[in-house]
């Protein structure tokens, strides 16, 4: 399982830049950042090298930040990589709350998924030969 940092931000000018400045000052390196936005607020989801330190730094800056465990799966960096992975979920009858992909190496991409029953998904994916990724693997 991968430790993702989730931050609650108001949908207002300057908030994202304040967030990234806090992480920069704390020496946190980000691998991926996505935003789920609504008209009032956004949830910023971050994959980085030091999730615990990132949360501490953000909280000291009066931001609401939590660590969330998400499933991260290494998939081949080719057409159909994600489609094959999602087929596996169909069989498991699991709901995917949200997901995003990022690429770290040339021939391999990382798909991040928040699913309803992560432990069961981990076992099933390992059975199918998928490699699960955690924070240490990304360094």
């Amino acid at each position: 399982m991968l430790e993702q940092v989730t931050v609650f931000l108001e949908n207002e000018k300057g908030r994202l830049s304040a967030l990234t400045r806090v992480l920069a000052d704390a020496g946190v390196n980000m691998y991926a950042l996505t935003i789920a936005e609504t008209s009032d607020y956004g949830l910023v989801r971050i994959v980085c090298d030091k999730p615990a330190q990132a949360v501490d730094a953000l909280r000291s800056a009066d931001m609401r930040a939590i660590v969330t465990k998400v499933l991260a799966v290494a998939v081949p960096n080719r057409p159909g990589g994600l489609a094959d992975l999602l087929d596996a979920f169909e069989e498991l009858d699991l709901n995917i709350e949200y997901g995003y992909c990022f690429s770290v190496h040339g021939d391999e991409a990382v798909d991040v998924l928040k699913v309803s029953d992560a432990p069961r998904a981990c076992v099933a994916l390992a059975d199918k030969g998928y490699r699960l990724v955690d924070t240490a693997d990304l360094a």
């Binding site: 989730t6 789920a36 607020y41 949830l43 909280r59 009066d62 939590i66 709350e97 928040k114």
Partner: protein
Amino acid sequence: MKRPQDILTAPRAELEALQLEGVKKTVIKCYENVPFYHDLYDEAGFDPYAVTTLEDLQKAPFTTKQDLRDNYPFNMFAVPMEDVREIHMSSGTTGIATVGGYTEHDLDIWGDCFARGVWYADGGPQDVMHVCYGYGLFTGGLGAHYGGVKAGCTTIPMSAGNTERQIRVMREMGSTILCCTPSYAMHLADTALSMGIDPKKEFKLRVGIHGAEAFSDNFRKDLEDKIGYKVLDVYGLTETMGPGVAIECMEQNGLHLAEDHFYAEVIDPKTGEVLPDGEWGELVLTTIDREATPVVRYRTRDITRILPGECACGRTHRRIDRLHGRTDDMLIIRGVNVFPSQIEDVMKTFDQISSWYQIELTRKGHLDVVTLKVEPNPDFDFDEVRAIELLQRDMQERLKSALSVGIRVRIVEPRSIPRSEGKAVRVVDLRGDDC
């Protein structure tokens, strides 16, 4: 030897006899010395010399805040100015200020009333009282100060503001009793924590005497947990004296009225009828031994009730319930009366949010739009948008059924709702007068 505290356990019959004597004197004194009362009683056909029981007072007309304003600055005074030692004024946020005058005797009873908070907490000369209500025309600062001095405490007149200095002084001087608004106490605790100072470990506070604004039970509990002390609610108003008209004892089950100085009635704010004990209504006060600015049946606009029965602490003075809002804090939203305290009651059933809030009133076309801003707690798992939407929806439903009016809930970032150093700004009205 008789101590000033002894009156607090006097038998009811003795107290009521004292009240009747006092009320009779106040009514006559007002009629003979204050032209406003003279005209009022003559017009209403009320005979101030015919009061023979406390119930007879119900025949007297009320005094309102507007009456006090109309007689600004000194026309409500019942003594010559040579006898007046001090002046205080209400904040006047809703118009012209109202003025209270104090003779030497009035200042003495004021100190006595506030000192009761210290006595309730078994406090006295061994205590250090830290007062960070504002000193000045506002009655909070000096009222608490006179109480501290009267009870023999080492009293530190910090006044409001400069929060970091407050924290340093509190730690270095070992303050044991804190007097300020509840929202400022929370601000002090939060600021101390952000400075790396744990109030529970580094402060010696054991009691907080907090008032001048309403606060929920949940807010009180948060405050007590953060600081590690006990919070006593204090009530008062410039128009009758200042803080100390009623204070909670350590039972924290209602505020004991200073019945040897004030006679209290609770009325139906619409009809003016006196309500039986236990029923909610508007508190009406008559001063018993106030010299400079006595008032008869002053309508406080504060909503409370007389708690029936005796207090477990054994004191005989009756208790009022914690304030349920003010008749003029009441918001009228699409024609429905809403008290901020009703919103607080709903909020405290949700542990995902803190007790800070702000109500914003705007207008869309001709419709009032109410937005309740709340801040998430650190342990709220908001990772999925769905979790936040669910919280908003649940809160909106609960508010709708409690208030019969739709309120939009907005989750905002922590500490984005302004912390005030005086009275908390709970309601921001952006409706304007243009519609």
